[in-house]
């Protein structure tokens, strides 16, 4: 090629050289477009794939690990769950409503493609602090609106997730959506194009020029030039998706379909390449047959369009009319656009004339890059932090109120009341809890679903930070009565070509993998979103996001954080150390993002989590809450606010008051239990070498009082706590809504 067209397409010189070697000639423009999309980070995982070797991906409950549209876990009784998360960061930065909406749509189709009915949606959102920035407030409102509008219309309840803030996300917000699906084991579908002569049918929406090159758009830094990439953002139609769900599931009831794949990043191209590659077959697609909503689309445009609400079905030869009939019932079309071949070639036709042909394997064989990481310079500084660097504030009541209203901690009701979280009638524990709990109809069991992250922790210690996030997810599950089963991970990082970012990526993956091994919660799928940075604000915090699913073996095990009865004893499980580093308290009260992430002991963590689950299953626990952001005082206050009861507790710990109240020592839980049960819990804990202390009681008078060494530290009304907690978000958004 005279001009270096491949550079414009997003490929490097060496990648171009490699693909000409694979093809044994130079590509035409259609073929170049195929490689550019399939070899992008988004489709080809060029920087992350070599690191995936660290992951544990198998286990007794794992039916399907990474490599399909979504992973699958066994929840007994021949029933399975499938779940996955996906990022939609760059689209959401530029067109937040559509970016977030289509993020939900995409992940729901991944679940549908497994043959499952989507039963829950979650999302993890990260923004800069709104402050006076109208732009950030707009982003938040639009993203929440987009998620709500799409999920509500689909009738998939949005039951949980998180919303966190840091300046690091100012230029590049994060929008990660997760979906969980349910099905019988016998209903599982795969993304595979078996059977030479079988038909490729496209179902759902028409194909247009929206979302052109979305995969490669997501695989470079976000800067002003991206404004030109607006065409790379898709437009969502939840009504179409709803029909697609109903029609596909009806088709799946019959034996018409051998394979299914969602059309996500890189559209028809990647969905068909992946299914062909898995079967070791070739495919032939005629772009003229694809139903379009625009005229004069070039072949490569049809192939890489990311128009939403489309699926690829691999249909048994002769069954096409039957499939079409069901889609017609739902006023949809199902159109044959090509078929499976035996030559291993990916062939694109236009009105029967070949316009591109390349080996299937070469499209799937994106080159990978193992780079040399370098420890980020800031760590040397932040590790030197000592607790003595900050003074203990005088008015600790004030600190507590300020933290309760802090953006990361305050109530997110403003967000989740815009989401239908009750549709489908499975939501046993609603958003705003440690984990959302969904019952499985007609069974005495339920599932716990969570999404967690902590960018600040990972910024201050990528490896231990990532471990902490996995553990916190698992703690959120066990306090709710669920046994953690498996995770899906969303790897959100800056540009990996920067050695410091690569270090964060590598260390986070190692930390995450170690924690998953220790807890025996394999990684069954996930998503990588790199290049999250802007020239103005730099790279985001390294932000691995953990989506976790757990099994509640009986509905009687379901436990929530709110205190239940006046007079119950309050217990703290785990050791409180003098650890202020990386805390929400240092960040919010002292304006410091520094120190090291609190210590972790993998064995102790595993043992303690099992203990919590055991005593919940024995019926000894009235309420349970994990102690995380904002520490002990926040955990107690939250249990008081949600129950509208008070608490009187006292400690005998030789610690700085702020470390006792707001430090974030790991592996800690706060429980309440009746007198007899409390004694029993402490007895069992002692036998297992787990620290447990009875610190006080739940009271009817609505005050929170915390003493240490007979000195009062906190004495405040629950009403004041609730006021701070419930108005924090509105204050930040500066709205009256």
């Amino acid at each position: 090629m005279a001009e270096k067209l491949w550079i414009k397409a997003g490929l490097t010189d060496s990648e171009y050289e490699l693909l000409t070697k694979h093809m044994e000639r130079e590509p035409n423009t259609v073929e170049l477009a195929l490689y550019a999309q399939m070899w992008s980070e988004h489709c080809g995982y060029t920087h992350t794939r070599p690191l995936f070797k660290h992951f544990l991906t198998t286990g007794p409950r794992i039916v399907q690990g990474p490599g399909e549209n979504a992973g699958i876990v066994d929840i007994d009784d021949d029933e399975v769950l499938t779940f996955k998360l996906e990022s939609h960061n760059h689209p959401s930065a530029i067109a937040p409503f559509q970016g977030a909406a289509t993020g939900v749509g995409g992940i729901v189709r991944d679940i549908l493609a497994m043959g499952a009915y989507p039963i829950a949606s979650l999302n993890s959102l990260h923004f800069g602090y709104p402050g006076d920035a109208g732009h950030t407030r707009w982003l938040i409102s639009e993203v929440v609106h987009g998620i709500g509008e799409y999920g509500n219309c689909l009738g998939v309840p949005t039951v949980g997730g998180e919303l966190r803030f840091a300046d690091a996300y100012k230029g590049n917000p994060l929008v990660n959506a997760m979906c969980v699906g349910y099905m019988k084991k016998s209903e599982i579908k795969k993304a595979i194009a078996t059977g030479v002569g079988n038909s490729l049918m496209i179902v759902g929406n028409l194909t247009g020029r929206d979302g052109m090159g979305g995969a490669s758009f997501a695989s470079k830094d976000l800067d002003e030039e991206n404004e030109e990439d607006r065409g790379a953002i898709q437009v969502g139609d939840p009504f179409m998706e709803k029909l697609l769900i109903e029609a596909c599931l009806e088709v799946f009831e019959e034996d018409y379909v051998v394979g299914v794949q969602d059309m996500g990043a890189a559209g028809i191209l990647s969905s068909s390449v992946e299914t062909a590659s898995k079967a070791g077959n070739g495919v032939e697609i005629d772009v003229a047959l694809v139903p379009k909503r625009e005229e004069a689309m070039r072949p490569e445009e049809v192939m890489i369009s990311e128009s939403q609400e489309r699926m690829l079905l691999i249909v048994r030869k002769g069954m096409e009319d039957k499939v079409n009939k069901i889609f017609h019932k739902w006023d949809l079309h199902a159109v044959v656009i090509g078929h499976v071949t035996d030559d291993g070639i990916y062939r694109v036709l236009e009105n029967g004339k070949t316009v591109g042909e390349v080996p299937v394997w070469s499209l799937m064989d994106a080159p990978t890059y193992v780079l040399e990481g370098k420890e980020p310079a800031h760590l040397e500084q932040t590790r030197r932090f000592m607790n003595d660097d900050v003074a203990v504030p005088e008015d600790l009541n004030q600190v507590l109120l300020q933290l309760l209203g802090a953006p990361d901690i305050c109530s997110k009701e403003w967000v989740y009341r815009q989401y239908d979280h009750r549709v489908q009638m499975n939501t046993v524990v609603k958003p705003g809890s440690d984990a959302a709990i969904l019952r499985i109809k007609d069974r005495d069991k339920a599932v716990g679903v969570t999404m967690d992250s902590n960018g600040r922790y990972c910024y201050l210690n990528p490896k231990r930070g990532a471990q902490s996030v996995v553990y916190e997810s698992a703690r959120n599950q066990v306090v709710s009565g669920a046994e953690p089963i498996a995770i899906t991970d969303g790897l959100n990082f800056g540009n990996p070509e920067n050695p410091e970012v690569y270090y964060q990526l590598e260390q986070s993956i190692i930390g995450l993998s170690e924690a998953c091994r220790a807890l025996d919660t394999p990684v069954i799928g996930g998503n990588a979103s790199l290049y999250n940075q802007t020239p103005e604000f730099g790279a985001i915090y390294p932000t691995p996001i953990i989506g976790m699913v757990g099994l509640v073996k009986s509905l009687s095990h379901v436990t929530t954080m709110d205190f239940k009865n006046t007079g119950d004893f309050i217990l703290v499980i785990g050791e409180t150390k003098e650890e202020l580093g990386a805390s929400e308290y240092l960040d919010q009260i002292h304006g410091l993002i520094t120190g090291d992430v609190p210590e972790l002991d993998l064995d102790l963590e595993q043992k303690t989590q099992q203990f919590i689950l055991d005593i919940i299953r024995q019926g000894l626990v009235q309420s349970a809450h994990d102690i995380s952001d904002g520490g002990m005082a926040i955990a107690i206050a939250e249990s008081c606010i949600t129950s509208e009861l008070g608490a009187e507790v006292s400690f005998d710990l030789n610690l700085r008051p702020d470390a006792l109240l707001f430090g974030e020592s790991q592996t800690r839980f706060m429980l309440s239990a009746s007198g007899e049960s409390a004694d029993k819990i402490i007895e069992i804990a002692a036998k297992q070498g787990i620290e447990a202390a009875n610190i006080g009681r739940v009271t009817a008078h609505k005050r929170l009082s915390i003493n240490n060494l007979e000195k009062n530290l906190i004495n405040i009304t629950i009403e004041d706590c609730a006021q701070a907690f419930n108005t924090g978000f509105d204050k930040m958004m500066k709205t009256d809504a």
Binding site: F239, M240, K242, R417, Q418, D420, R422, V423, M425, K441
Partner: protein
């Protein structure tokens, strides 16, 4: 007693209603398809919530023109029991089977929360299980639930006891502060003049299965069942 749940493209609470009749009430129930005009042998019809036709144009605007809805009208004219929940309510007002219409919430946002309601009229086939002034918890989940009708229509409805439920606070107080969406007179659910067609924004079906921690809504379906059984025997 056969129940029918009407299914439109975009209905998303049909399975929930089906579940309550089938599993909670233990009664026979079938889906009715929007393209059909033969409703079969049903004694009561539920028009479920959701986003029929994607709420295109406005909620209920397309659904009310479907073939099945003309059959539903005939069914109601013969005295059959019809209840429209959420989008079903919107469809019934579009079909003019109930007065008024549902505007966008005054907060301009979708609103999903567990809502307290007060029962206003217990002398209907839909509310006989309740006591006057009972305070109930039903979830709401809607963007267009702000009930509006002309002042003279409202006056007439109030006089006829056509208001079945009103939004209130947990203490049962009805005021502007306890009004989640701006509905006139805090109206959450209404009944037609002849007393056999109900529309309501709150979801009684979501408040019918004890496992979910809410059970006040069951009364609506049990009331209907008792009415049907009594009338069948006569």
């Amino acid at each position: 007693m056969n129940w029918g749940v009407l299914l439109f493209p975009g209905s998303n609470c049909a399975e929930d209603c089906f579940h309550v009749i089938d599993k909670v009430l233990g009664k026979p129930v079938t889906y009715l398809w929007h393209k059909d005009t033969d409703l079969g042998d049903v004694d009561a019809i539920i028009i479920p919530g959701g986003f029929s036709y994607g709420d295109h144009l406005r909620p209920g605007a397309i659904a009310h023109l479907s073939p099945a809805m003309s059959a539903v009208k005939e069914f109601a004219e013969k005295g059959g029991l019809v209840i429209g929940i959420c989008n079903g309510f919107q469809i019934l007002t579009e079909a003019r089977m109930l007065p008024g219409s549902l505007l966008q919430n005054r907060g301009l946002k979708f609103l999903c929360q567990d809502q307290t309601l007060k029962v206003d009229n217990i002398e209907t086939p839909f509310t006989s299980e309740y006591k006057t002034d009972d305070v109930l918890v039903f979830p709401i989940a809607h963007n267009e639930g702000n009930y509006y009708a002309k002042p003279e229509t409202i006056a007439e409805m109030e006089q006829n006891g056509q208001v079945l439920f009103r939004y209130c606070n947990p203490e049962g107080e009805i005021s502007d502060v306890t009004n989640p969406n701006g509905s006139i007179n805090n109206i959450a659910g209404i009944i037609n003049r002849t007393g056999n067609v109900v529309g309501m924004m709150p979801h009684p079906e979501r408040s019918s299965d004890n496992v979910l921690g809410l059970s006040d809504g069951k009364g609506v379906f049990i009331s209907m069942l008792k009415y049907l059984e009594a009338n069948k025997q006569n």
